[in-house]
Amino acid sequence: MEITLNHYLVLAAMLFTIGVIGVLTRRNVLIIFMSVELMLNSANLTLVAFSHYLQNIAGQIFVFFSMTVAAAEVGIGLAIVVTIFRNVGSLDIARMNLLKR
């Protein structure tokens, strides 16, 4: 059996689905954050696979930039998490309802 593009696409889809389930079902902000990272990385895997099978370097460049953005996003996101924890005293998203009141 030869590994084709479809194998990588199915794997990335499964990884993305796991990430979606994590975001929708967990209540800990940090774990939701990690599930978002999972989804980002499944998209990156798709891009690298296409880059390989289409012999085009643009996909890998795109992954490079997506990693840059992810690094910036994690930095800011964790700073926000720390700030929220300081104000609310919990990481439970069910208790982060300040805008509702």
Binding site: L15, F16, E37, Q60, F64, G75, I76, V82
Partner: protein, 170 residues
């Protein structure tokens, strides 16, 4: 050989991704996420993107995950059981929606999208373009503007993180 490698890596990837989503304790989630990144780096190597594999390990498994771990230790959490109580209606709903997303993907892939994709004609060429010299050449010629913009984005992130972390701000 490549097939065996693919199977082993995908089993490890999916198992550790599931563990990330299901563990109660954030620290074990983080460690499983590091394992996921390592196996993804294995896929990158198989796909000829050796430079990106190195970057994935250094930046993601190295820097970003240490940042996560640092925040978990900084926040001094009580028992992790306290956060996740009984599953609410929304969590069941979210699970069902997530499964639905997976089914949509499967249906899409089952229609044969990508089946007409070309096979690698020139494998040698393919493993060359993933190397650091090719990527660097492209990055500083065709993609130099996005590269500069990424630098500005990182600067903005640094300033934002510092201003958020300052205690006497609000």
């Amino acid at each position: 050989m490549q097939t065996l490698m693919f199977i082993v890596l995908s089993v490890v990837t999916l198992f550790s991704a599931l563990m990330v989503v299901t563990r109660r304790n954030p620290v074990s989630s983080i460690l499983y996420l590091v394992l996921t990144f390592f196996s993804l780096a294995g896929f990158y190597v198989m796909l000829g993107a050796s430079f990106l594999a190195a970057v994935l390990i250094i930046v993601y498994a190295g820097a970003i995950m240490v940042l996560f771990l640092f925040v978990v230790m900084l926040l001094n959490l009580r028992e992790p059981e306290e956060i996740e109580g009984r599953a609410t209606v929304w969590q069941h709903f979210g699970f069902i929606v997530g499964i639905g997303v997976g089914l949509v993907f499967l249906a899409y892939l089952a229609t044969g999208t990508g089946a007409g994709a070309p096979h690698v004609a020139d494998a040698k060429m393919m493993y060359a373009i993933g190397r650091a010299d090719w990527l660097g050449k492209e990055l500083f010629t065709r993609f130099v503007l996005p590269f500069e913009i990424a630098g500005v984005l990182l600067l903005a992130a640094v300033i934002g993180a510092v201003s958020l972390a300052k205690k006497d701000r609000a």
